[in-house]
């Protein structure tokens, strides 16, 4: 059958996730909060258990609501520990997600006695390779793309709009909060709205394409871009570019060798990072040599 349509849609969906992640990830890397994605992938567990207990259902949308609430809660807690309790960003993230995950494990053991399969892996996280099974088809056989794509495309638009409109505020608060405060920019507003958006988009991306892909794309492409430039706009643009490159190359490697698509995409992203790292080391050395010679 017309397999190439499915391939194209997988790549388009992965690239959309990659761009959403690269835009948000760039701010996260600058704010030393790159691991927030990983944190959320764990801390949604209590949300899932509670959502199940309230609704008695394991349907995706119910799980999604529970997960989204706890995704936002995770970021509120991280921000609180970081800003109000003066914890470092990494410690705030570590405390928050391990604690929430542990609460989830206990809730699970207490209320279900381990009697049902109820964890994010099997009730919430999607899988990029499976998105084309859930199709949107109109006019009998006209394929308009996987449901997952139309689910995360609005998120991408929202992220794009928010970061374009609020670029100045986000930029200044990411680099120097004291300077931002002296200009009368509200740090709290930008922090919380950015983090709320991160929660929403990561949870929705997890649901559509799986956790490892999102966590990887949130950190690695922006980090690669960070090596090459000191300009935020260029960093975001390069992050998106590396994310799309990883999606395309990773997808075809996975297809050719019959491997996990998310695994291959994240591996390629890592390789792109390595290439950039070597390039930036060589460049900084040659710069130093030039300055010594002068």
């Amino acid at each position: 059958m017309n397999e190439w349509i499915f391939d194209i849609w997988t790549i388009i969906t992965a690239s959309t996730v990659a761009c959403t992640s690269a835009i948000l990830g760039s701010f996260l890397v600058l704010r030393k909060k790159a691991m927030v994605g990983d944190a959320i992938s764990h801390s949604v567990l209590p949300g899932i258990v509670l959502a199940y207990m309230v609704s008695q259902s394991r349907a995706s949308w119910v799980m999604l609501i529970g997960a989204a609430i706890f995704g936002v809660l995770t970021n509120v807690l991280i921000e609180f520990l970081n800003k109000k309790a003066k914890m470092t960003a990494d410690a705030s993230i570590g405390i928050t997600f391990t604690w929430l995950f542990a609460i989830g494990v206990i809730l699970l053991a207490y209320f279900t006695a381990g009697g049902i399969d109820l964890d994010q892996e099997c009730v919430l996280f999607g899988e990029i390779s499976m998105i084309n099974l859930d199709k949107i088809v109109v006019d009998e056989n006209l394929y308009l793309g996987p449901t997952a794509f139309w689910f995360i495309f609005p998120v991408f638009i929202l992220v794009l709009l928010f970061t374009t409109i609020g670029f100045k505020g986000l930029k200044i608060t990411s680099f120097n909060e004291d300077y931002a405060a002296s200009l009368g920019i509200k740090n709290g507003f930008w922090n919380y709205s950015l983090m709320a958006l991160v929660s929403l988009s990561t949870v929705m991306s997890f649901e559509s394409v799986g956790a490892i892909l999102v966590v990887g794309l949130l950190v690695i492409p922006p980090a690669s871009a960070y090596l090459l430039t000191k300009k935020l706009k260029v960093m975001i643009f390069l992050g998106c570019l590396f994310g799309i490159m990883s999606s395309v190359i990773g997808f075809y490697i996975a297809k050719h060798y019959n491997l996990s698509i998310s695994g291959c995409i994240v591996c390629v992203a890592g390789l792109i990072f390595l290439v950039n790292l070597v390039y930036s080391i060589i460049q900084s050395k040659s710069k130093r040599n030039i300055s010594i010679q002068q």
């Binding site: 699970l108 390779s129 308009l144 019959n258 491997l259």
Partner: protein, 298 residues
């Protein structure tokens, strides 16, 4: 504009030519084997979860997805065995023929995994009566969509049911060799409830159905007490679950002065390699009973 329309037109999905063999894709090996027996000559039957794969942890690779995409019929277990994938299958209903095996089983015959009314134990293949009700439902649904071969499917099912009955007779004779008080089955996770109900075994698992909530300290102590009190001679490892947690139970029993050993490896959530005894559905039942018999009666 016309370019765009042309592009849109090329996004139309092609229909399969009539007269081709149906492609039936099954999730587990047990389903695949029974389906193969019922309509093997008239359809291509493929399985995506191969030998030794834990359905709870299964992740599809691109070749599996291609199979699912090209399939005409998808057969899945249901009762949340396939997790989120089951939900996706349900959405494919209409585009393909999607048959949920457990739909053929009346709800009052299913066991609950917890006190909770909405969740059922998905391990229905351990009770061949239940599993064959699923097979009957499958045959009926297949007959509705492939009316030409419907009679063949029915005939094949009848032949298969005779084989099942023959095996069950053989198996019940084997179980008669185990004294009633020794009919205790201890495994690493709760997969054997239907098995216990059918063959009159008391069943205990260290872990629940879900593998995320690890076993609690109390679970282990209770299990060890149960074993020493009832003088259980052997416990059993599952082919798709790690045996480490069970080894700690054995150690604790030894400390309390009760000698217990690993009786063997049972096939719980997946069948064995093709060609071995446990490589078919009926072979899997026989293999498990044989292993338990040898493990307990040694």
């Amino acid at each position: 504009m016309s370019m765009g329309l042309l592009l849109l037109q090329s996004c139309r999905l092609e229909k399969k030519a009539p007269g081709e063999k149906l492609l039936i894709v099954c999730t587990t090996g047990m389903l695949g084997d029974v389906v193969e027996n019922i309509c093997g000559e008239y359809a291509d039957v493929k399985v995506i979860m191969g030998p030794g794969v834990d359905p709870h942890l299964y992740k599809p690779n691109p070749a599996d997805i291609r199979l699912l995409q090209n399939s005409d019929v998808i057969v899945h277990n249901g009762l949340h065995l396939e997790g989120k994938m089951g939900e996706i299958f349900e959405k494919l209903d209409g585009e393909k023929i999607v048959i949920r095996w457990s739909e053929g089983i009346p709800e009052n015959q299913l066991l609950h995994a917890t006190e909770d009314e909405n969740s059922h134990d998905p391990h229905i293949w351990f009770d061949s009566d239940l599993f064959m009700q699923g097979a009957q439902y499958f045959t009926k649904r297949m007959g509705e969509s492939d009316t030409i071969n419907a009679q063949h499917f029915k005939k094949n099912l009848e032949l298969y049911l005779i084989k099942v009955n023959a095996l069950e007779e053989k198996v019940s004779k084997m179980i008669d060799q185990i004294p009633v008080e020794k009919r205790v089955l201890i495994t690493s996770h709760d997969a054997f409830s239907y098995f216990g109900r059918k063959y009159g075994f008391r069943v205990r698992g260290l872990q629940g159905i879900s593998t995320v909530a690890e076993f609690g300290v109390k679970d282990k102590v209770e299990l060890v007490n149960y074993i020493t009190k009832n003088q259980v001679p052997a416990l059993f490892v599952e082919s798709s679950v790690s045996s480490r947690s069970l080894e700690s139970v054995i150690e604790a029993c030894h400390k309390k002065g009760h000698k217990i050993k690993i009786g063997g490896t049972l096939l719980s959530d997946a069948m064995d390699e093709k060609g071995k005894l446990g490589g078919t559905y009926l072979g899997m039942i026989e293999y498990n009973i044989q292993t338990i018999l040898e493990g307990i009666n040694e």
